[in-house]
């Protein structure tokens, strides 16, 4: 069957806090829809086989390789891409930490790496270094050697912890 012969259908997604609707093939990968149809090209693809993590997005706060998910499987969930992380135009704390710690070189793995780290921190706020290393095991970076990325994520966990305890003190 040539690609044109495949039936297409309307797909409604909830991306970065907005509802969007596209016509898609049933076999279209989520990464393809986000990048090529919705123009969210901050999302990168390095393998389309679930091996590199460059395409990582958050699905209801969990990091997912979007090249392994079909668009139609993503209906009814909250999708967050790197574009949805920038708060009010400014950098998120995690993005700032990546910059400050030299966790970025070519930047191609970075959006996926940031999303994987963000997902990990949302579920594991304590910032245990070994846990961070394992959480990033599915994301390949060929430039940085990972340690500076782990440093950045660790520092962001500390910052969030400090924010949290400050907020609790203020509330008390």
């Amino acid at each position: 069957m040539t690609p044109d012969a495949i039936p297409r259908d309307r797909l409604t997604l909830w991306v970065n806090g907005r509802e969007v609707s596209v016509i898609a093939d049933p076999h279209d990968r989520l990464s393809h829809i986000l990048r090529d149809r919705l123009g969210l090209t901050g999302l990168k693809e390095g393998c389309c086989e679930g091996e590199c993590g460059a395409c990582t997005v958050l699905v209801d706060d969990h990091p997912v390789a979007s090249c392994l998910m079909l668009g139609f499987q993503a209906e009814g969930v909250r999708i967050t891409t790197i574009e949805g992380l920038t708060q009010g135009g400014g950098l998120s704390g995690l993005q700032q930490a990546f910059l400050t710690y030299g966790a970025v070189q070519c930047g191609f793995c970075t959006p996926g790496m940031v999303m994987a780290a963000e997902g990990h921190l949302r579920a594991n706020p304590d910032g245990d270094r070994a846990a961070i290393r394992h959480a990033l095991a599915g994301n390949i970076c060929r430039c940085t050697g990972f340690a500076l990325i782990v440093d950045a994520v660790e520092s962001e966990a500390e910052r969030r912890q400090a924010d949290l305890s400050n907020a609790m003190e203020a509330g008390a």
Partner: protein, 748 residues
Amino acid sequence: MGQVGKRLALIDGVEKVTGQMRFAADDAVAGLAHAALLFSPHPHARVLSLDAGKVLAMAGVIGVWWHQTTPQNGYNSAIWLAGQQLLADERMFPAVVRHVGDRVAVVLADTEATARAAIELLEVTYDVLPAILSPEGAQAHTGPTVDADRQPTYLNPVAEVALDHGDVAAAFARASHVSQTHVTTPRSHHCAIETHVCRAWPEANDRIAIHSPCQSVFAVQAVVAQALGIAADRLHVTKSPIGGSFGGKAEPILDPICAFLAMQTGRVVQLQLSRHETFTATRTRSATEGRMRIALAADGRILGRDVVVTVDIGAYCTGGAYLPGSMLQRMVRLYDVPAERYRGRAVYTNTLPTGAFRGYGSPQIHALGEIALDLAARDAGFDPVALRLRNIVGPGAIDPWQGLNLGNARGADCLRRGAKAFGWETRAKLAPGTGRFRRGVGMAAATHINGCFPGDDESTTATLGLQADGGIVLNCALHDLGCGSDTTLAQIAAEVLGLGLQNIRVTPADTDTCTYDLGTRASRMTYIVGEAVRKAALALDQAIRDAAALALNAAAQDLTLLQGCVQSARTRISLADLAAWLVARKTALPSATQTHRATANPGSFAAHFAEVEVDTLTGRVQVTDYLAAHDIGRAINPMLVEGQIHGGIQIGLGYALYEDVAVDPGTGRLRGDSFARYTLANAPEMPPIRTLLVEEAEPTGPFGAKAVGEIATVAVAPALVNAVNAALGTRLTDLPLLPERIILALQN
């Protein structure tokens, strides 16, 4: 002020962490056409016929091309300037394919899905020819590499380099200890996370624009012009941001095809490889086998070495002809050895072509030299660090091959300070243990070059100018590969100009607007281009003070640039106001162009120290501690320098332990052809790393700086192999140290 030595974030970092960086395939373009390639399943075959009937009937297909409908000009994808003499043995689509993954045909279609579906429907007949898949087979396939008509014959060796220095026979006759070691190194793949990609489209005046993640826009221009047989000035090449290269994107592989299709169809054409195709149809590091004999005196002095190396460069010459020489160059710049004999040859096989990969021969020759030296040390009873200290070159040493001064060579400092910080003396004496897990420490020294002198005219032209808005623009043919060279260069300019990084804007390379430059390779950015930028910044500083002198009615020598202003003790003007003042008076804005031509090629040096734990049951190696000491001259940005070292260790660790595309000796196919089948070190595999920078200023480098990009990876594999051999008492010398190899060595 005070920009040099600061740990500043990347100048383009915000774009990168937000995903706003526009990589080559990111811009949405109306009417973008997509190309897909058909690759040969055979290692050697004549392409007899192509039936595209089904494909041409498909909706959305624009066209199909193969060897009968494309230019058949011979070219070499590794040239970096027009007219460079390198065996031109490649064709866009050859009539005889020479490796699995060689290019057979291309389909252009409205969507990538259609192009890829169409490729599957092309019907090709081949006449399969005998193939040479091993360097041993290649050695027998000898003859001249070009015939009387200068046509490539694919006979071996493609290149041979020899050095006879001093009296080697006498050195071996005099030696107290003689050792011989045989080392093989694998074909490793760059694994840049962005796969190979290129875009091209027609421009006015019958020109073609090429937008490519490349290491030199001028190399792209030269290669495409040679392949298409057209004048170079019909090609307008711009460098796109690049998602990693490491040498893998140094050769324009897709660009000739992309430009050809744009020319044929008038469309905006994108050609992007899949991950599998990037493994199987681009380049790898060349595999080598080498034998080194070492003659040691009783006091540990290396009296002589005798070295034979064979480099398997794959199916096309590319830059492989340079490799035996590059390896020799690196070999003779590390130790002061009175007698050396070297025979290096490069041979064709019917396998994927090889090319540049972080170090260009350095990782291979250091694997041989540093593993061989370690085993010699063990046999003769020398401490590996002491033996190296006894022999390493010092400042001002002259290499015996090219006769170059190695500059402020601080390898000994790396060895001494590295060994101390690592606790070498104590740790080297610890027993490896007798249980299932054995511990060992190992180390290696390394050197690498700074630029292409004397092989090339090592010159670069940088222009810095004040813009109407008060910003400073740096124009130079710049290709930041992600290592942060744009940031480093902007820091150099900012330092001289008394500005902050935010005041400097850097423009990427463009063949229409930049002066010729060799591109980002050979560890030349900081040392060569950095010096050009420093000189241009000094000249701009003078030009700005001259202009401000008029505006402020002061003497230029009383003015200094500080924090975005030109000021004297009593008056000041911001650069923005100065620019506005000059524009209003119809006066040219200050700008300065300087050319730096290097006449030196000092060595960068390093010593790496590693601890490993080997599981004798599974053969698995875990690197448990790592220290890298680097002679960097002066770190312009220590954070970026450390980033290079960390990244270099990740690549070197894989080279030692996991990475091999592994050409199947029966079929010529690669076994490691996806991330699932080609193991890379990921975050949990990486050891804790300490870096130690020896900053003893190289007089010929900008602010004393030397290169780090390539040398970062060079010492890693031998340091790890030496650690494993120390832990197990083995003599493992075939890389990578796969678990099965370790188990086999333990059984013997």
